[in-house]
Symmetry: C2
Subunit: 236 residues, 2 copies
Amino acid sequence: MPGEHSSKQYDTDLETIRSKVLAMGGLVENQFQDAISCFRTGNVAQAEQVIKADENVNNLEVSLDDACSHLIVKRQPAANDLRTVMATIKVITDLERIGDESTKIARAAKSITERGVTTINHYETIRVMSISASNMLHDALDAFARLDGKQAIRLIAQDELVDHEFRSIMRTLITFMMEDPRTISGALDTLWVAKAIERIGDHAKNIAEYVIYIVEGKDIRHTDYAASQLEDRTTN
Amino acid sequence: MPGEHSSKQYDTDLETIRSKVLAMGGLVENQFQDAISCFRTGNVAQAEQVIKADENVNNLEVSLDDACSHLIVKRQPAANDLRTVMATIKVITDLERIGDESTKIARAAKSITERGVTTINHYETIRVMSISASNMLHDALDAFARLDGKQAIRLIAQDELVDHEFRSIMRTLITFMMEDPRTISGALDTLWVAKAIERIGDHAKNIAEYVIYIVEGKDIRHTDYAASQLEDRTTN
């Protein structure tokens, strides 16, 4: 909301934080991509790198939360400006959780390889879903970078697609398990990976909701706001 | 931190928010208990009530977040006081997520009953774990109410117990599934319930970490602080 607040210094400080949050976003995006790549290739060394990289993400969460608090105390922002800081704090939490979920995927990949369950590679089962979630995350960070409410609204609708893909994966894996009970352990590992990907979609959706909160001042969590906006545009 | 801040009005406003957060905590505690009870009895009407009650929890999240923002803008708290508000905002997020997880348990209970999968009741499988998580949640809310850092430290250690129980449940369910593939669907429902309970334990742990942040001013997320404190007390 340019021109609506008093302090230029506030703008500068906020921009510094925002660019660090975006850097954190880049880190977790890589973490997620690499984790999926480990699941595909069974590369244990890469899996360990993903797990190790989570420390950086965790440290960023703590230091960025701290920077947001400092900003509030030092600049005492008005309601309008505070909204952006509050939403940014929430975005940071979601990014950290995406890091956690990526770590879970990497751990699953590592454990599958180490147990030597090489009979079935379930990468194909989760491929489409992981691309969808990866696009969602990318778009969410992009919407946050450009404070693009319309992009945020579009991507919220995509979360249903990811949820749908998750349910379809579950049915596929159940069929596998029933046909050959020896595949149960491997199928469950894949199920946890799919669950982690579904959660990453949820977190991307949360980030999009905070973008709308920043841009439009509307708290649309737990509402059908995004769907209704999309309908408006289709019918008009 | 009595005496360290300037405004009496700030204290009053903060206490109002804190008591509402505790009321929200009471709500999600009931939601969790009721969800487990549905899983035990297969009571669909009660499951629907749990799902319905989540609306109240969601509304509380939005209105309490808003109250925290108002408090900051109106009272412009110093760093010390702001810490409590920030931690309270994070606690609110965790409580809302516990509501979500309880809803998932209720949905699973409903779907099991409606599909008529009455051959095995897996309540016994998850009973001990659900009691552990329930105690953790209760203690976390208690520590938040009394700002009791010691209680918070004790309960953080319990999260490992819940994680351990989760892994043991997973092994039990895999055995079930391998022995009789017809039980796979029902076992997976139970696995999701167990996962939701494990997540509730995580959220209770998060709340405990925020209590320590309020009381001691230390951000102990992603550290072994709680474990080291417990060791100190054992060896001294």
